[in-house]
């Protein structure tokens, strides 16, 4: 500190050629600043390189190998990819299951969350209570919620089908029926839209009231106000919800794993024995892409092939996210100031 010639610098001086000692001091200050940044960033620098960057590269390498975790990886070139796009009979059902989920469950989730939020804003009483009730399922641990649903929708004795039969409806087999398993999971996901609902609710309540008033004076009815005022004002939040829902849809794992392993009738083996053969029950209808990846990697220990599968997932996730973000410029109303 004492080496700095602090007093020697009068204020109005034009930038003169720096004296060597000042230059040294300046360099030292810059170095100190850099050191501070480095110190603060260090957890992330380590975390990013060890748990993200290196694994990404390693994953790319592993995808060109045959690897079973016991012996060291053997380079087999493009064989994994050739199998992935050529020979593998199971991967396309898994892809189409995930696409089904993205095309049907994800839009339903966003719409349902928005609908719930709209309904709550219309309530005059009990806003807090309704918000809490609609949010509670989100808090429920996935395993607990899914087990609960598998029991509720149990075809023979579950409460849902009991109630339906009292109404004279012969309920479907839900989680046991290949055609109904995915819709059942969709219902489960709709039950848990609380996060998106709370975000929508906050956004809707943030819409400036004068916009509604002027729209009303101009003679806009409720639907038009929704379309021309509410939706544009909250469009950044809609975009955010869609992106989150799509990302989660691509990663959809827990619910499908638990539903398929606990709905399968023959799953009475020993703990963790070989659940992976029940994955996708019934008839592979819930074998979503991440489950297939898990089954290949950690059920059959085809680590190399699983790495290739995850490379495909990476490319698709990137493409989908970029596609949504790029298209969003057309319909997201940026003047809302949400950045």
């Amino acid at each position: 500190m004492s080496t700095l010639p602090v007093a020697a610098a009068p204020r109005s001086m034009a930038p003169p050629p720096l004296s060597p000692s000042r230059r040294r001091a300046k360099r030292r200050a810059a170095w100190r600043r850099r050191r501070t940044v480095l110190l603060f960033m260090s957890p992330w620098i380590v975390g990013f390189s060890v748990f993200f960057a290196y694994p990404m590269l390693d994953n790319l390498y592993l995808s060109f190998t045959h690897y079973d975790l016991l012996s060291s990886p053997v380079w087999i070139g493009l064989a994994n990819y050739r199998y992935l796009f050529g020979g593998d009979q199971q991967v396309w059902p898994a892809v189409s299951n995930t696409l089904w989920f993205l095309a049907i469950a994800v839009p339903l989730q966003v719409l349902f969350a928005f609908g719930l939020a709209m309904m709550i804003t219309r309530a005059k009483m009990g806003v807090g209570i309704f918000r809490t009730i609609f949010y509670l399922p989100t808090l429920t641990p996935t395993v607990a919620a899914t087990l609960g649903f598998v029991f509720l929708f149990n075809p023979a004795t579950g409460p849902i089908n009991s109630l339906l039969s009292k109404l004279g409806i012969n309920g479907p087999s839900w989680f046991q029926d290949p055609h109904w398993a995915k819709p059942s999971l969709t219902l489960l996901s709709l039950w848990g839209v609380g996060n998106a609902m709370v975000i929508f609710l906050a956004a809707i309540l943030d819409v400036p009231k004068h916009l509604y008033e002027s729209a009303q004076i101009d003679g806009a009815n409720a639907l038009r106000r929704l379309y021309y005022v509410t939706l544009p004002s909250i469009s950044p939040v809609i975009l955010f919800s869609i992106v989150i829902a799509v990302i989660q849809g691509l990663q959809y794992f827990d619910q499908a794993y638990i539903a398929s392993t606990s709905a399968a009738p023959g799953s009475l083996g020993n703990a963790g024995d070989n659940v992976s053969e029940n994955l996708g029950y019934p008839q592979g209808s819930t074998l979503f892409y991440p489950l297939y990846l898990y089954q290949q990697g950690f059920g059959f220990f085809n680590m190399g092939y699983a790495a290739a599968l995850s490379m495909l997932l990476l490319v698709v996730s990137l493409a989908v996210t970029l596609l949504i973000l790029r298209n969003s410029k057309r319909w997201v109303h940026a003047a809302g100031g949400v950045r």
Partner: protein
Amino acid sequence: MATVASEVRAPVIRRTIPWSVRRRRLLVAIADHSILIALAIVFLAPFVFIVLTALMSNQQALTTHLWPQPFKFSNVTHVFDTAPMLRYAGNTFMYASLATLGLVVSSVPVAYALACLRWRGRNLAFICVLLAMMLPPQVTIIPVYVMFAHLHLVGTVWPLIIPNWFGDAFSIFLLRQFFMTIPNEYLDAARIDGCGELRIMFQVVARMAKPAIAAVALFSVLLCWNDFFGPLLYTLQNPAHWTLSVGLSQFRNQYSVQWNLVMAGTIVFMAPVILLFFFAQKAFVEGITLTGVKG
């Protein structure tokens, strides 16, 4: 049909509202509330059925009767005898607390550097954070698993805890967004007073960002408590390290189809989270809103 929402907010102007309009508004309000109440019942029904089933005898749980007869409250304690629930809970608690502690300690400085310090490469670093946040974890899961397998940590909860001590992308993002809203004047004032960056972080930024830090910690506790994929991947082989989520998911495999006990275990698993929510509801809602509106 949908006139209520905005008219409620309209400034109050004294005028006589025609009877027909008032009646229509009343009907709309009743319709709105009926729909909401119906939805609320649908949302609560699974909880009700889970609780009812948890109190049934095993035979009764396999019938179509909905009301327990008699109420077997002993089921809830019986779960603890049937499965090592306390150990599962202990493992889960260890995972949630250590991971959250590490996550807060490591993410706050990174977020501070990204929001409050100016340096070259900052935007690039932020993009890296976003990238790590957006990409599915399955993309890195295999090499990370292999890494922990080489360290002989597979079969314990440590692979779940350790990465949290090196910054979590989502938390960094959230905290950074919040730190950005703190006016620079505060920081500059502290700097002029000769305060070091470390001290500014602790005494100025961290104090002002208490709600955000609380929200991040809360989310982390919740995520860990509910986490299934991680514990499944790393602890499935070793029942001594199972968390509640893995233990419960294996319940059916281990103890055949005792739905009443499964549901009782479910309740034991859910209860702490729901209690936590009622105690910290405000922090929750603020936190969720933070993710959405600033995102």
